[in-house]
């Protein structure tokens, strides 16, 4: 239930055992390696195979994404992960077969790309022949002794008779035939005297004609198009074959996934080992580990070929922070870590923060129906997705907060707000004969709710101060705790007593204030300065006041959930039974989404600003041990 004590470990191994050692550390997952400064000229940075590994990894990654695209794998979010032993995972057979599969797939992919390129080139070529399809002559048009023929295009804007007239004006015997036309061009076949060929062409060029030459093609356009389309269908067969080559069996796909994990963990081991230093024969690295793992680590290192040394952190060291909490509290570590991990020598805020967070979240969402959905969503995600790490903690948090929301929903009488009375009224026409709220309904009695919110705020503020007092006493500053916290508490107690008995209350309040005036200036040297800074410290009351008022958001956010839900139900009621169902569904989904975000953010804010502000020492670096983290597969224990 606290911040775990860390110890430093120094490891020295033979250079050839480096990889083995790193793998071992990864398997244990309890040591965070730190950058080791090279002290002597004899040591050098560790040379690793990281670059080679990352090359292999990228080959596997591209093969995997291709294989996923082209094979029909029935793998969704919910399909179970591959189970494999560590020995199998890191075996060279697995890696080699995966690499050869990847190579095959990547080669096929390269082949596929070149085939696709060829196909599109041919298609473009075929396009150029299409307008001449109706011409029953070879594309390299026949030429005679006295006549010549040529092909040309003229913009569609020019009328056909105009073109013919232009040609005839130069050569009386010239003939122009339109082969085809589209929206832009006339495609023309022209015949004229050999002697006047050049002149005809020149005069046509005045109409922006372009002469088309298919030098050497002795086939008609139709034949040529047919030839190309035959070629294309041949290529398409090859493309299909290449695509089939990209498809893999589920076994091969799993192999690729496994190799991907094996390579990425090896890669991270290699990258981490770059933090160490080396000589030509030896490898040295330092790190941090939780004290409670000392015995286990010693046993492991004892059996391996490695020299080790454990030591306590020294002054000036900054060990990483690891908080250790019960299973109920641990999910709330996500909330704290979003703010910042606690400082190593600070205090773990999670155990005292967790109940408040869950409580406030429940009050703000305050609807048993919403809470139930949240809880079920969390349970479903945990059971089906089997998430790990932060997401897992988030889902656990969802379940706990969902339970809290259900409880508060029951106390405040909200199940999709007034859905039950509304449905009852819709079908029977009568109002529900009893009240659902176990305690009271905040929309009907907002003043009670406001006071309740502020009281809860006061409780959390006092709790925050109590933690601060604990920290002071722990550090031996008992008097400071009494002066800085105790006198404020006396003043608070006086203010509360005033509600019941103003005279007694004022005396207590005065005593507290006097104590503060006398002690808060104790750091100052001058007696007048002591008095004034003591007096000035009373100004802090505005801070406490605004902190407590900030908790009025508990009322405001619970109202916002409740009233918008009521609006949804009322609108649904106006549209009859079927309309009710539709409005209910869409409306409440919207309301849940908005208020989930709101409740989370605002309960977090109350912790960060109002609660943590009282005592929390942040700025720790979360403990990040080297561990074999697999994304796609589960490592199972080796069978002996």
């Amino acid at each position: 239930m606290s911040i775990v004590r860390m110890k430093r470990v120094k490891l020295l191994a033979m250079a050839e055992d480096r990889e083995k050692l790193m793998r071992l550390l990864g398997r244990i997952g309890a040591v965070e390696l730190s950058e080791t400064a090279a002290e002597e000229e004899t040591s050098q940075p560790v040379s690793t195979e990281a670059d080679g590994l990352s090359e292999k990894l990228s080959a596997i990654l591209s093969a995997e994404s291709l294989a996923r695209k082209y094979s029909k794998l029935k793998k969704g979010m919910f399909s179970p992960r591959v189970q494999i032993t560590e020995k199998q995972l890191f075996s060279s057979e697995l890696l080699e077969s995966a690499l050869s599969e990847a190579e095959r797939i990547n080669e096929n992919a390269a082949e596929l790309t070149s085939l696709q390129e060829r196909r599109s080139k041919l298609m473009a070529l075929s396009e150029t022949f299409t307008p001449w399809k109706e011409l029953e002559l070879p594309l390299d048009t026949p030429q005679g002794k006295a006549f010549e023929t040529f092909l040309c295009t003229v913009p569609a804007a020019v009328e056909l008779p105009e073109i013919a007239a232009k040609a005839v004006a130069v050569d009386g015997c010239a003939e122009i035939y339109e082969v085809s036309a589209d929206r832009e061009l006339h495609y023309l076949f022209c015949v004229c005297h050999r002697a006047s060929g050049e002149a005809v062409r020149d005069s046509l060029k005045e109409l922006s004609a372009a002469i088309v030459r298919f030098g050497g093609i002795q086939k008609t356009a139709k034949e040529k198009i047919q030839e190309i389309s035959d070629e294309i269908s041949g290529i398409e067969k090859e493309i299909k074959k290449a695509e089939e080559g990209l498809a893999v069996t589920p076994e091969v796909y799993d192999l690729l996934l496994s190799a991907q994990d094996a390579l990425s963990t090896s890669l991270s081991c290699e990258r981490e080992s770059e933090k160490g230093i080396a000589t030509s024969r030896a490898f040295y690295i330092e790190g941090w580990f939780p004290e409670r793992e000392e015995k286990m680590l010693a046993e492991v290192f004892e059996t391996g070929k490695v020299a080790y040394e454990f030591s306590d952190p020294e002054e000036g060291d900054e060990p990483p922070t690891l908080t250790y909490n019960s299973r109920l509290i641990a999910p709330f570590e996500v909330v704290t870590n979003m703010y910042s991990a606690p400082a190593y020598r600070g205090i773990d805020p999670n155990p005292t923060m967790a109940p408040f967070f869950a409580l406030f979240f429940g009050i703000m969402l305050s609807d048993a129906g919403y809470g139930l959905l949240l809880m079920l969503a969390g349970i479903f995600a945990l059971a089906k997705l089997k998430p790990r790490g932060g997401f897992r903690q988030f889902m656990q948090l969802a379940i706990i907060c969902g339970i809290s929301t259900v409880i508060w929903g029951a106390l405040f009488g909200g199940f999709f707000r007034d859905a039950i009375p509304s449905v009852y009224k819709l079908f029977t026409g009568k109002t529900l004969p009893f009240d659902l709220a176990l305690w009271f309904n905040p929309t009907e009695d907002p003043m009670t709710m406001l006071i309740f919110s502020l009281v809860l705020g006061g409780v959390q503020i006092v709790a925050g101060m109590a933690v601060k007092a604990y920290m002071m006493i722990r550090d031996g500053e008992v008097w400071a705790a009494i002066f800085d916290i105790g006198f404020w508490w006396v003043a608070f107690a006086g203010a509360i007593t005033c509600i019941f008995n103003s005279t007694v209350g004022l005396y207590i309040l005065g005593a507290g204030a006097l104590g503060l005036i006398l002690t808060q200036g104790r750091a100052k040297k001058n007696i007048i300065m002591k008095f004034f800074s003591g007096l000035l410290s009373l100004y802090d009351v505005t801070g406490y006041f605004s902190d407590i008022l900030s908790y009025s958001r508990l009322l405001a956010l619970s109202l916002s959930t409740a009233v918008v839900a009521t609006v949804i139900n009322t609108m649904g009621m106006l549209t009859g039974p079927i309309g009710f169902f539709i409005v209910f569904l869409i409306g409440h989904v919207f309301n849940i989404a908005i208020n989930l975000v709101g409740s989370f953010v605002h309960s977090a804010r109350l912790q960060y600003v109002e609660y943590f502000g009282k005592f929390y020492e942040s700025g720790g670096r979360p403990f990040a041990p080297l561990a074999i983290k697999t994304k796609n597969i589960d490592i199972i224990k080796e069978e002996n």
Binding site: M338, Y339, P446, M447, L450, L549, S550, S552, R553, L555, A556, L557, L559, S560, V563, V564, T566, V567, T570, L574, A593, I594, V597, G598, V601, H602, A604, R605, Y608, V609
Partner: protein, 158 residues
């Protein structure tokens, strides 16, 4: 006189709905524009940016909430009027709508700007999105307080 009471109350409901609504539209819009730029680079950040974009939407909802309560009070939805709609009561209702109307409008835009700046956090350090969300939530505090006062004022009109 009753007609003036109704007119004033409805004016209040209208103000409480349209001013924060306008503010939220603007705030959500600013964040959306910034978010599109980030998502164009990395579509996987859609979820995080959407969270930030949703934050300035709440002022519009708070306004709707007060507007709806006014309509409930004057009997435009869900049965009879809960109060006598005199000129004075109508004016009371109008006054009670003002806090959320104005603070809602202004804070939604400001919150939108903070959230839009938070989109930059998502672009560079996506794991720190919650910090950007907390910054935006700090702005919302004042809309929450205004909502509270509007609600208490409205609730106090008998």
């Amino acid at each position: 006189m009753e007609i003036y009471g109704t007119i004033l109350a409805l004016l209040g409901a209208a103000l409480a709905t349209f001013l924060p609504g306008m503010g939220s539209s603007k705030g959500v819009g600013i964040v959306g524009e910034a978010a599109s730029g980030v998502v164009a680079e990395d579509p996987s950040k859609f979820g995080q940016t959407l969270l930030l974009q949703a934050l300035p939407a709440t002022q519009g909802i708070y306004g709707l909430l007060i507007g709806f309560l006014v309509l409930l009070k004057v009997g435009f939805v869900g049965g009879d009027a809960q109060i006598e709609l005199t000129y004075v009561n109508g004016f009371y209702i109008l006054l009670s709508c003002l806090p959320i109307a104005f603070v809602g409008y202004y804070s939604a835009i400001r919150q939108g700007r903070v959230a839009a700046a938070g989109i930059g956090v998502v672009a560079k350090r996506p794991e720190e999105v919650s910090k950007a969300m907390i910054y935006a939530a700090m702005v919302e505090t004042y809309a929450v307080l205004a909502l509270l006062v509007s609600f208490l004022m409205l609730n106090g009109i008998k």
